[in-house]
Symmetry: C2
Subunit: 138 residues, 2 copies
């Protein structure tokens, strides 16, 4: 587990809610990390058309509306994968045992089904839902 | 990610399907690991009443029926947690920023909801479902 996903949501809330474009230094101060880490996240989000930078203007803005930006899209961007994976499978089961011979495809099928449920749960939540939860606390 | 969970499912399929009690050496040969790793898994499964060893007899047997043993119970046992967690939250957001001040409880609420969906998906699958998927491949 790492904190790229939570740091990216924090970054996107800041960018979405700020009246003016924010620099990576300003974002890093709020997230509690360094600006180069934020620029790395921003580069991944940028690659997926989630944020954009403007020629001649410092700072970033959100490209889609917060209502249309799902947590799945953010997760995919910062983990650089289309298919979120939660489970790992042991790599050296014995081919000489009937269970060992079939365990990988069996667990792959089983785990993929559960990971699909996880992806759907991520796709049902948006950045706007996070912002709305935050407003309720203010 | 580690492979304790997949190795535990492999171990439990072997124990459930074997005509005779299996030793940790026999299980390790099929899983493709060493016997001490298997004994560590078995100790965690034993603590949660998933398998039992018999006094004076070498080897282990399954305690509940495979139909009644959910993947959630196996996951909880080998991860030594009641509440499966998928996400981590960055630990040093700034208290001086309104977003930084509220990000932790907001993300905790959001992530807990998604992790609950994941737990329910794990609770809907049983060891018997894994065994049935394996039989279909034989």
């Amino acid at each position: 587990m790492d904190t790229k996903f939570s740091s990216a949501i924090h970054t996107l809330i800041l960018i979405s809610e700020s009246a003016k474009p924010l620099t990576s230094e300003e974002i890093a101060a709020s997230v509690g990390t360094n600006a180069s880490y934020i620029r790395k996240l921003i580069s991944m989000l940028n690659k997926k058309d989630i944020i954009e930078s403007h020629r001649g203007v410092s700072g970033y803005t959100l490209k889609p509306k917060a209502e249309g930006l799902t947590l799945l899209q953010i997760y995919q961007a910062v983990n650089e994968t289309e298919t979120p994976r939660i489970f790992d499978i042991h790599q050296n089961p014995s081919d000489e045992c009937i269970v060992g011979r079939h365990i990988k495809p069996v667990l792959t099928d089983m785990f993929t089904e559960i990971e699909d449920t996880f992806s759907r749960a991520l796709a049902e939540k948006t950045l706007a839902d996070c912002i709305s939860l935050m407003r309720k606390r203010l």
